[in-house]
């Protein structure tokens, strides 16, 4: 479904990602963990074509996207949704208009059909009846849920989550985790979740890849990662102070 082959990414001479090889199967939830600034979000942005790699190939649904022009990329993106770290809701639109955005842009559905889908999506994320509220009036957790409703409204095959639980209280984090799992079950989507929230990672992951200093240093099932003998992985998942992996970067 998604495949990265020897992907490198540099920004103004700084190597952000080095020789990334990763394969995410259809219907799988892959969680990418790693310290802040390790290149996790860059990896996610590469998968949806917001950034182009310096070298390497990225395959999405069997199509190599790293060299595609914007219009061709848009065809690939019509099958993808993304939940942004800070939600990125359109603040000049209501919640309902945000969720309806993709449907209005890319489908021939009638306004009634769109309204029904919006209602259904908002009900699914626990925000039924909030169509006319402006994003500025919502809490962080509610914004994340609207962002998820917007991402899945067009019925995508792939959903990308950028730090979906960052800045949320533990209960709201669990709500978001449950929504990620529900979305996977109900819509059969392939999910890629970038996070450094380990309880959340273990809750939603089929497989986990740890990225450190721009490289993937470990990948496997939740049990594989828990049992990893890599000291950096162990330190990260348990939040230990020693050894100081930041000093080694």
């Amino acid at each position: 479904m998604i495949k990265l082959e020897h992907v490198n990414m540099s920004f103004r001479g700084n190597q952000i990602l080095a020789d990334i090889n990763l394969e995410i199967a259809e219907g799988e939830t892959m969680v990418i963990i790693g310290p802040s600034g390790s290149g996790k979000s860059t990896l996610l942005r590469l998968m949806i074509g917001l950034l182009k790699p310096s070298s390497g190939q990225i395959w999405v649904n069997g199509r190599e996207i790293s060299g595609l022009p914007e219009d061709a990329l848009n065809e690939v993106r019509k099958n993808m949704g993304m939940v942004f770290q800070y939600s990125a809701l359109f603040d000049s639109m209501t919640v309902g208009e945000n969720v309806a955005f993709g449907l209005r842009q890319h489908t021939d559905k009638s306004e009634q059909e769109i309204a029904d889908t919006v209602e259904q999506m908002l009900t699914m994320v626990g925000l039924a009846g909030q169509q006319n509220v402006m994003p500025g009036e919502l809490s962080g957790g509610m914004k994340k849920r609207v962002s998820l409703a917007r991402a899945i409204a067009i019925n995508p095959a792939i959903v990308l989550y950028d730090e979906p639980t960052a800045g949320l209280d533990p209960i709201m984090s669990s709500v978001i985790d449950r929504l990620i799992n529900d979305t996977k079950k109900m819509l059969k989507v392939t999910s890629v979740v970038v996070t450094h929230d380990m309880p959340s990672a273990f809750n939603v992951a089929d497989r986990i890849a740890m990225i450190y200093d721009g490289s993937i240093i470990e990948q496997g099932t939740v049990d594989d990662i828990r049992r990893s003998d890599n000291p950096i992985v162990q330190q990260f998942i348990h939040g230990l102070l020693q050894p100081d992996i930041r000093e080694r970067r």
């Binding site: 074509g49 914007e70 848009n74 949704g81 942004f84 990125a88 955005f101 993709g102 890319h106």
Partner: protein, 256 residues
């Protein structure tokens, strides 16, 4: 020391040329996507960018027409040329003052608003959200604003011409003791249709400048509140400079 100075100048020139290239690229991309314009968005932008600017444009040109008459009427009367005042005011308003002042007002009000709105969208990842949802930001954001500005500027200038000349008429008749007939007849004798149409053509260019510069500054805003602030200021300053420069060349082209 000299080398450092030259390097600094070189950097500035290269930076300026790069910027000009990016603005030109945005303009070309926008023109290439004009057929993707969403009618509803264009109408919304026309109301927002055009109709909402009407009051300030009318106020600016009313007082400009008034002060122009105060300054010219006294001198013209001294030389017995009061029969020329109406024509001079109408021609000055139509050819230069209305389009340029409307352009400056719109650059300050609309250009700043465009840069601030799009800049805020950029720093809060809303532009990325558009791209993720397979929506081209140029087609969605820039095209409606360019069309709205190019259509609304001449309409604003028509109002500016009328109100500016009316301001001149009021001062001429009520303050400078020039009869109503003399003022209006002077306009009829001296002013030509091309004085107005030339100004309208110029204003379309100015509208295009305001829209493209505002969008460019917004789309390239640096992260954070400071980035949005700089984009907004930059939009106003660059638009005004380009309006003044292009006005000179357009005047040469249209009136020689």
């Amino acid at each position: 020391m000299v080398m450092m100075f030259l390097e600094k100048i070189g950097e500035q020139v290269i930076g300026g040329l790069e910027n000009a290239g990016r603005i030109m690229m945005l303009f070309i991309q926008t023109i290439g996507r004009l057929n993707h314009a969403n009618f509803k968005h264009v109408i919304r932008q026309m109301a927002h960018l055009g109709v909402d600017s009407l009051l300030i444009v009318k106020l600016t040109t009313l007082f400009t027409g008034m002060v122009l008459t105060v300054q010219t009427a006294h001198e013209f009367i001294k030389y017995g040329a009061q029969a020329s005042v109406g024509g001079v005011v109408a021609i000055a308003m139509g050819r230069e003052l209305s389009p340029v002042l409307t352009g400056v007002v719109v650059a300050g009000r609309v250009g700043a608003a465009i840069a601030a709105e799009i800049g805020s969208m950029k720093v809060t990842e809303q532009i990325d959200a558009l791209r993720v949802m397979a929506t081209n930001p140029i087609a969605y954001l820039v095209v409606p604003r360019l069309i709205a500005c190019v259509i609304m500027m001449p309409l604003l200038v028509v109002f500016a011409d009328v109100i500016g000349t009316l301001g001149g008429y009021l001062v001429a008749t009520l303050y400078s003791n020039i009869s109503s007939y003399t003022f209006l007849n002077s306009i009829k004798v001296f002013a030509e249709v091309s004085d107005v149409t030339g100004g309208l053509i110029k204003s379309m260019f100015f509208g295009g400048i305001v829209a493209i510069i505002g969008c460019h500054k917004g789309l390239t805003a640096a992260p954070g509140a400071e980035g949005v602030g700089k984009a907004t200021t930059g939009s106003v300053v660059t638009s005004m400079i380009l309006i003044f420069i292009s006005n000179y060349f357009l005047s040469l082209l249209l009136y020689r």
